[in-house]
């Protein structure tokens, strides 16, 4: 056992297991749905077309969730309330399967209540400004409430069935929201793609849930935890299958490679939707599921975990690379989200329950912040493309500074929140013995910093390249940015290994409050060496990024097109030959006079460019070769095959009665022969 690690948390002494706040916490789950109905029926007649109802519901939730959060922070809350809704017998009536609805208040769900409500509230407020003038504001806020409400059901669910209800609700609401601008064909097909991938993964979730239910007789998480801790159920024998199926479900929702393909396309929806979807809801659902069923993976299905770690690692690195070659600012952030989810998934899979969730916690703030910032920029320049932006720093100072805070937090720069959570992940993964994966994670930190620097430089640095006069967003949009920037900067202090704040329990201990106290290994104190390496990688990423894109505003557009010639000799041949020719001419003309400059530009520049180009070239390759061609091809191929099969099968319905009758009788003969032969 590594001396740096401790096994987490005993049960705290003063658990809150009753009282007003926890016993009525179910209202958190209900209020957005009430808001939904109110908006649908009365929204159109109201001043802000229903937005005030949605905001009211989330404000209510935020207050309530904050109360629970504070209770948990100081004492710990544990409460569960369920109502039986159905009971079915099986195996000749010897076994029963109970379906229940209810709510659960423990460390994990309390954190999620708070995240969803708080981030949701700010995003809703922001959306009032962003969606102003949209033709379907009422419908937007109705669906948005449904979205937040479904997520709250998902995280408040005391059992798998209710979780699935919330899960499907989130998926449905996102389908409606992603496709908000239905007029554009690509948006509606993005909504479809999101749903194809998600529904496919849901099959895994549902089958996994049924296996758990059938073997345990209940879908309850508490019972699952108990069985995992104490044994004594048929679940042991099929735990790996169930765990793998549940993980497959989580892969879809949390966009793990190769099911990540839906997420970048889902950027087609309005930006507030992307912000909420990427920060606190929807995509975190999968990580949440893994955390909620963590005992299953920790104790019963350890065999699946290495595979999960590998998938998480691929996601965090390979998909992170893709962010480097995007022009659409939202797609940069989208690929970044996938990559960060990869971090979370890797951590949880490796056994870092606390680490993964801590990153989920901090990520929610800074990713929401970045999306909302991007939204403000898009709102100002009326384009998603960074090639139409640039120089916005002076036009939009508030957006700029909050965006910088978010970027630094995401890049993992000390002392912003992302630094602490990423460091904890690296430490835990490393100590769990996944050394290679830890180095992949450090490489990922470099990539993260690189693409965020690129995004900042192309958006806010240099000169403005778009049309019109960009202006700072209205206050209703900038205040949420500031509101998110604060936790994005400071949330990391809540879980510094080895530091206890007076009166506040550690983040680790919040999360440990479960029916069966959760334990995982996590660092007792900051491993300064590892932290320095991680920070160094991030700083290197920022430096390379600045060198490439920020240093010289006039050439940044050109530099953005830098390629590795070996990988794209044909594609970029012309460009490269021109460049080479120019260089030769220049060399002949001034062989000596500019030698110093030559060293500067070609040696130093070459090294930095080389590193940058290598990374970006790899990214191009992964994006162009694998992601867009390979994975997309498979998905599109499947869709096309389904479609073609549909039209093929349809031809069978020829309209002719006697054709039907012939098929009928032929079917009889075939059926008889099949049964006789294969029986």
């Amino acid at each position: 056992m590594n001396p740096l690690l401790v096994l987490a948390a005993e049960e705290p002494a003063e658990l809150v297991t009753s009282g007003f706040w926890v016993e009525w916490a179910g209202l958190i789950l209900i209020s957005p749905f009430v808001a939904f109905l109110l908006i649908v029926f009365f929204g159109k007649r109201m001043r802000y077309q229903g937005a005030e109802i949605a905001i009211g519901a989330l404000a209510f939730n935020t207050v309530w969730a904050t109360a629970l959060f504070v209770l948990n922070m100081t004492r710990g809350v544990l409460y569960e309330r369920t109502f039986e809704i159905a009971r079915i017998g099986f195996l000749g009536g010897t076994r029963e399967l109970v379906f229940e609805l209810g709510w659960m208040v423990d460390g994990l769900s309390t954190m999620m209540y708070f995240l969803v409500s708080f981030v949701g509230l700010l995003v809703f407020i922001y959306a009032v400004g962003y969606m102003e003038g949209d033709v379907r504001v009422t419908w937007f806020f109705a669906a948005f409430s449904l979205f937040a409400g479904s997520m709250l059901v998902l995280v408040g669910a005391p059992n798998l069935v209710e979780l699935i209800i919330g899960w499907e609700g989130v998926g449905l609401a996102s389908y409606l929201l992603i496709g908000h601008y239905w007029e554009k064909k690509e948006n509606s097909s993005a909504g479809m793609k999101a749903f194809y991938t998600n529904k496919l993964a849901d099959v895994g979730l549902i089958l996994g849930a049924i296996i758990v239910g059938v073997t345990l007789g209940t879908f309850s998480f508490s019972e699952l935890s108990r069985v995992a801790a104490e044994g004594g159920s048929g679940l042991q024998t099929v735990a790996s299958v169930a765990a793998a199926l549940l993980f497959f479900g989580a892969m879809g929702k949390s966009a793990q490679f190769p099911l990540h393909i839906w997420l970048p396309d889902a950027m087609a929806g309005p930006t507030p939707v992307s912000a909420l979807m990427h920060a606190a809801t929807m995509v975190t659902g999968g990580v949440y599921l893994m955390a909620r069923t963590f005992p299953l993976y920790q104790n019963l299905a350890e065999g699946v975990r290495p595979a999960m770690v590998v998938i998480g690692a691929i996601t965090l690195f390979a998909v992170g690379l893709l962010a480097l070659v995007q022009d659409d600012i939202k797609k940069v952030l989208a690929y970044s989200t996938v990559s960060q989810l990869g971090y979370m998934m890797t951590a949880v899979a490796a056994g870092g329950y606390t680490a993964g969730l801590f990153h989920l916690f901090t990520h929610a703030f800074f990713k929401a912040l970045l999306f909302l910032g991007a939204g403000a920029v898009i709102h100002a320049v009326h384009s998603n493309n960074m090639s139409d932006m640039g120089g916005l720093r002076k036009y939009m100072p508030t957006t700029y500074w909050t965006f910088v805070v978010g970027s630094l937090a995401l890049a993992g720069i000390f002392p912003f929140s992302g630094f602490w959570s990423k460091d904890e992940i690296l430490a835990t993964v490393g100590y769990e013995g996944y050394t290679f994966v830890m180095w992949v994670g450090i490489g990922g930190a470099f990539v993260t910093a690189l693409y965020m620097m690129r995004a900042m430089a192309l958006t806010f640095g240099g000169t403005y390249k778009g049309d019109g006069h960009p202006h700072e967003a209205p206050k209703v949009m900038t205040w949420p940015l500031i509101g998110l920037a604060v936790p994005a900067a400071f949330a990391g202090f809540l879980n510094i290994p080895g530091i206890e704040w007076p009166g506040i329990r550690n983040f680790t201990e919040w999360l440990a409050v479960r029916v069966v106290p959760m334990g995982d290994y996590h660092p007792k104190s900051v491993d300064v060496g590892l932290a320095a390496i991680g920070l160094g990688a991030a700083l290197a990423g920022l430096a390379v990024g600045w060198w490439l894109f920020g240093r010289d505003a006039s050439t940044q557009a050109e530099r953005d097109r830098l390629e590795i010639p070996l990988l794209y000799p044909l594609f970029r041949k012309k460009y490269y030959i021109d460049d080479l020719a120019l260089g030769l001419v220049w060399l002949i003309k001034a062989p000596f006079a500019r030698a110093v400059l030559w060293i500067n530009d070609y040696v130093i520049d070459g090294i930095v460019n080389g590193a940058g180009m290598l990374t970006r070239g790899l990214a191009r390759f992964v994006y162009g070769g694998l992601d867009q061609r390979g994975v997309d091809l498979v998905v599109n191929g499947l869709a096309a095959a389904t479609d073609a099969a549909g039209s093929g099968v349809r031809r069978w319905q020829s309209g002719r009665i006697q054709g039907y009758a012939a098929s009928f009788v032929g079917g009889v003969v075939v059926l008889v022969l099949a049964v006789v032969i294969f029986r």
Binding site: G89, L91, K199, I206, L207, G646, V649, V668, V675
Partner: protein
């Protein structure tokens, strides 16, 4: 030998018989304007017929008559109740539809009541002859009702297609029954079951043929692939309330016949009908869902959806059979699915009837923006379609869940494969339902709406939609209700 009759046990049937006679008589005397009274009588009849069911449910006795060929047990009670509720909702839907065109109202209600009578008898049949007559009584009037829009060429075509394929399937069914009778020497289910072990290996092919031909006959009624071809065409052409009845009551009748026969007469022959049902289930789900993706007409879409649901409903039973497990869970799951399916599908058809009057078209594209000028019906449409898609917390999710649960609990390779096929199909199925929802709520409404666009639905139709919606939501949140009915049916009595 004399037989005693328990009058309470046959009271639901007698009530409907009385209703038929009253409608028949009234129809003679009422003037054209007052014909709607026949509808009122029909609705009252169906409501009244529920009363003896409740009385019998309360005293918890099982009643068997005529050497156990007519049995009223919990299975029969639940399904009779389902037939009456479905009939009630269809009658409510019919009122506007039938009244608004110059159709023969009195005769229409008469035929519908006869069909309901047939399905009531069917639920109690424990004998091949009674089963056959019950089935004929259920479907015979429907051949005619499918052609009720006499001036409409599509309706004519619907009736003829349904009829020709229907009699073909009847002939197959009867051939199978005759073989089974010849091999076992009995037409009572209990007699058949008792005689089956004595059948020698040499006679096995005839037994296989007999059982499978019966399955084929039922497969036609439930519209399972490849015996489904009539369904899309007939559904599209028939008057919509009749289509609703076809897709729910007639299908349920087919299931009742199939389930009671295989459960009571052939429980030891799972190796014969298990694979057959497996094939039918897999083919139905796959072919119907793929075809539904390309449909432009909303009723045709629902037709393929109904074929696909038939496949889903076969899954638990087929899964239990191929895995060699006890059939009672499969029965319970299938009946639970039937109950939920009946409610949500009738709701969907009620909305389609109401919506078709407003939009004036059955083309899905013509429904663009329907939600904006008919928000309440738009929401109801979302409720029913998403329930059909199996999105929680609407009732459909529980049906799917129980279906998966039953087949996974059954275990075994073949059952698990069936579960996988069902799972993939439930993914495909989502899209055509979602497409309708999207069109209704997201696409812009046509610039100029017809006069009918703002006309409210009539009271009866609103009642039908409302009842179905309440049921779908309540069962979705408290699915124990449907599971209770499903479980009750496993207390099925085999003969006397």
């Amino acid at each position: 030998m004399t037989y005693t009759i328990d009058w309470l046990a046959v009271a639901p049937e007698l009530t409907v018989v009385a209703g038929i006679l009253v409608v028949l008589t009234l129809d003679l005397f009422l003037s054209r304007r007052d014909k709607y009274w026949t509808g009122v009588v029909a609705v009252l009849t169906v409501s009244l017929a529920v009363v003896p069911l409740i009385v019998m449910a309360a005293d918890d006795l099982t009643r068997a008559m005529f050497d156990g060929s007519f049995v009223v047990d919990d299975f029969a009670l639940v399904l009779k109740g389902l037939f009456l509720v479905a009939g009630y909702l269809v009658l409510l839907m019919s009122v506007t539809y039938i009244e608004s065109d110059r159709y023969y109202e009195g005769e229409y209600y008469l035929l519908l009541l006869v069909s309901i009578l047939g399905s009531l008898v069917l639920a109690s049949s424990r004998d091949l002859i009674l089963l056959f007559i019950g089935l004929e009584l259920t479907t015979g009037p429907l051949f005619l009702l499918a052609g009720w829009r006499k001036g409409d060429a599509k309706s004519n075509e619907a009736a003829l297609k349904y009829f020709i394929l229907g009699v073909l399937s009847t002939a197959m069914l009867l051939y199978g029954m005759s073989l089974v009778y010849g091999l076992t020497g009995s037409v009572r289910f209990v007699g058949i079951r008792e005689a089956i072990p004595a059948i020698g290996a040499a006679q096995e092919p005839a037994l296989v043929l007999g059982v499978l031909l019966m399955i084929v006959g039922f497969g036609f009624k439930v519209s399972a692939v490849p015996f489904h071809f009539w369904a899309p065409d007939t559904y599209e052409g028939a008057p919509t309330p009749v289509t609703a009845y076809l897709s729910v009551s007639s299908k349920t009748a087919g299931f009742v016949a199939m389930l009671s026969v295989v459960y009571l007469a052939f429980p030891d022959l799972t190796s014969i009908w298990g694979p057959a049902l497996w094939l039918l289930a897999a083919a139905s789900m796959t072919v119907a869902n793929l075809s539904a993706l390309r449909q432009r007409n909303i009723v045709r879409l629902l037709a393929y959806s109904s074929v696909a649901h038939a496949g889903f409903m076969l899954v638990p039973f087929a899964g239990a059979a191929v895995a060699g497990q006890a059939l009672s869970e499969g029965l319970s799951a299938t009946v639970t699915y039937l109950v939920i399916y009946a409610l949500m599908n009738l709701g969907a058809f009620a909305v389609v009837i109401a919506g078709a009057r407003r939009t004036g078209t059955g083309d899905i594209e013509g429904w663009a923006g329907f939600g904006s000028y008919a928000p309440r019906q738009g929401i109801l449409l979302v409720v029913f379609f998403l329930s059909l898609a199996g999105i929680p917390p609407l009732a459909g999710w529980f049906a799917k869940f129980v279906m998966f649960q039953a087949v996974i609990a059954a275990g075994g390779t073949a059952a698990v494969w069936l579960a996988v096929i069902a799972a993939l199909n439930s993914v495909i199925a989502f899209f055509y339902y979602a497409r309708v929802v999207k069109t209704v709520w997201m696409d812009p409404a046509p610039a100029e709406l017809g006069e009918e666009a703002t006309a409210p639905a009539t009271g009866a139709l609103r009642l039908a939609m409302g009842l179905a919606a309440v049921a779908v939501v309540v069962i979705g949140v408290f699915p124990g209700i449907s599971a209770f009915f499903g479980d009750a049916t496993t207390r099925i009595l085999n003969g006397g």
